[in-house]
């Protein structure tokens, strides 16, 4: 019934916790960068006038959005070796999160570009701007304002989703907590510090996203 919480055990946990934190942050940073780059590519493909390209991009996004990340992770983790591709779990984790988050980022980027009104293009054309000037001075600055805050929000989802890569044995925050829990049978000491770190990272991104949204709207 009564659980005596011991800070000594938390201290023992600290080295593993920090290792897990380092990996979660690394996966998060690499994942966000590669997912954004991949998302731009998928969004451009979706907006392409070439039908097969735009349709396969749309199909890809629908498939990712309608299947669980865990199934995608299993598919990559057990499926890639079938093709003779043997990657360390860390890389499979980054790959899975890139493919997953990239589809959501693509939707955000596409919506941002599409939300720029036709009149903006026309106004830029009437000023005899070249395509490049039109994009750099008129369209992209406005699209960026709409895209950036939800992309930060998407980063919060990526960090949250990254907990699932622990099932492949990647030593992230979740894995460090569950391993320590399994060894010591001390769930509170293992989970509370881990949850604090997750809360700090994810809530910073969530509130950062809405702060940026308010700021950039006034701009």
């Amino acid at each position: 019934m009564d659980y005596d919480f011991s800070f000594n055990i938390v201290l023992q946990f600290l080295p593993y916790l920090l290792l897990g934190l380092r990996n979660t942050v690394l996966i998060g940073l690499i994942g966000v960068l590669s997912a954004t780059a991949f998302g731009v590519a998928v969004a451009l493909a979706r907006l392409s006038w070439f039908k097969p390209l735009s349709m396969s991009a749309a199909g890809y996004v629908a498939f990712i959005r309608a299947t669980p990340l865990l199934v995608q992770i299993y598919f990559l983790f057990y499926g890639l070796p079938e093709f003779g591709i043997l990657l360390p779990p860390f890389l499979v984790a980054v790959l899975a999160l890139t493919l997953n988050s990239g589809a959501y980022a693509a939707e955000i980027i596409r919506a941002g570009i599409e939300s720029i009104h036709k009149t903006q293009y026309e106004a830029a054309d009437s000023l005899a701007m070249t395509y490049r000037q039109k994009m750099t001075y008129v369209i992209l600055p406005q699209a960026f304002r709409k895209i950036f805050p939800p992309l930060v929000g998407q980063a919060s989802y990526l960090v949250k989703d990254s907990a699932l890569v622990s099932v492949m044995g990647t030593l992230d925050l979740t894995k460090s907590a569950t391993t320590f829990q399994a060894i010591t049978f001390r769930p509170l000491e293992a989970f509370l510090p881990t949850m604090m770190l997750y809360l700090f990272i994810i809530l910073t991104l969530i509130y950062g996203s809405s702060f940026l949204d308010r700021r950039l709207r006034k701009w």
Binding site: M1, Y3, A62, F63, R65, A66, T67, P68, L69, L70, V71, Q72, Y74, F75, Y78, G79, E82, K160, D161, S162, A163, L164, S166, V167, T174, A177, T178, Q181, P187, L188, F191, T194, M195, Y198, L199, I202, L203, I206
Partner: protein, 216 residues
């Protein structure tokens, strides 16, 4: 033959039925929690409001897997021995409920002030205002994000396979381990989830477009 066998096992044994049951049960309870929490936060009930914000932010700031692990491993220490199924439903309810409360609150906040004022000018009580004027309008606004939340909810149920509850993903994993065909088995598993989620995803997008047209 292998495909037929895998399809059969996923469809008829504890796979698909458990996932559907778990999703429905969890979503119904989550809507109840979400409605109450969202309404209380919208009405700015003192004290409760702050506590509920902590709850909502806690759920939004934690991976579902952590919530699940926490409940699964910590509750027994406090003499609450729940089955894996009850733990799963509890975790789903708490997690999805927090997201739904944000949808409820957002939809209520989206109703323009003039609606409140005109209802007040008709001398309606707070309860009548909410019941006949505000909530009916908010419901139609909340439908597209709620449909989107159903998709996220169904996908979250796959995480529950990790605490050894036999549902679709776990049955798929066991199949993979016996037939040694990960690509095929997980592709079929993905198709099952796709068939469950894609219609709802389409519905969500369709509803959103309808609402966007109405307000243009």
């Amino acid at each position: 033959m292998l495909i037929a066998r895998t399809l059969f096992v996923l469809f008829f044994t504890k796979g698909l039925p458990v996932t559907v049951y778990l999703s429905l049960l969890g979503f119904v309870t989550a809507i109840l929690v979400g409605f109450v929490v969202g309404l209380v936060r919208f009405l700015r009930v003192p004290i409760l409001r702050g506590l509920l914000q902590v709850y909502v932010d806690g759920m939004r700031g934690l991976p579902f897997l952590m919530v699940l692990y926490f409940l699964f491993h910590v509750l027994p220490f406090f003499d609450m021995r729940l089955t894996a199924f009850s733990t799963a439903v509890l975790a789903l309810t708490l997690h999805t409920g927090a997201y739904i409360s944000e949808i409820v609150r957002g939809s209520l906040l989206a109703i323009p002030k003039t609606q409140h004022e005109s209802a007040q000018s008709l001398a309606l009580t707070l309860r009548q205002r909410l019941q006949y004027v505000i909530i009916p309008q908010a419901v139609s606004l909340s439908l597209p994000p709620l449909a989107g939340q159903i998709v996220l909810h169904v996908k979250d149920t796959s995480v529950i396979s990790i605490i050894a509850l036999t549902e679709l993903t776990r049955v798929g994993r066991i199949q993979m381990q016996t037939n040694g065909q990960p690509l095929l088995t997980y592709a079929i598993l993905a198709v099952f989830y796709f068939a469950l989620c894609y219609p709802v995803l389409k519905l969500s997008i369709g509803l959103e477009e309808r609402i966007a047209k109405k307000f243009r």
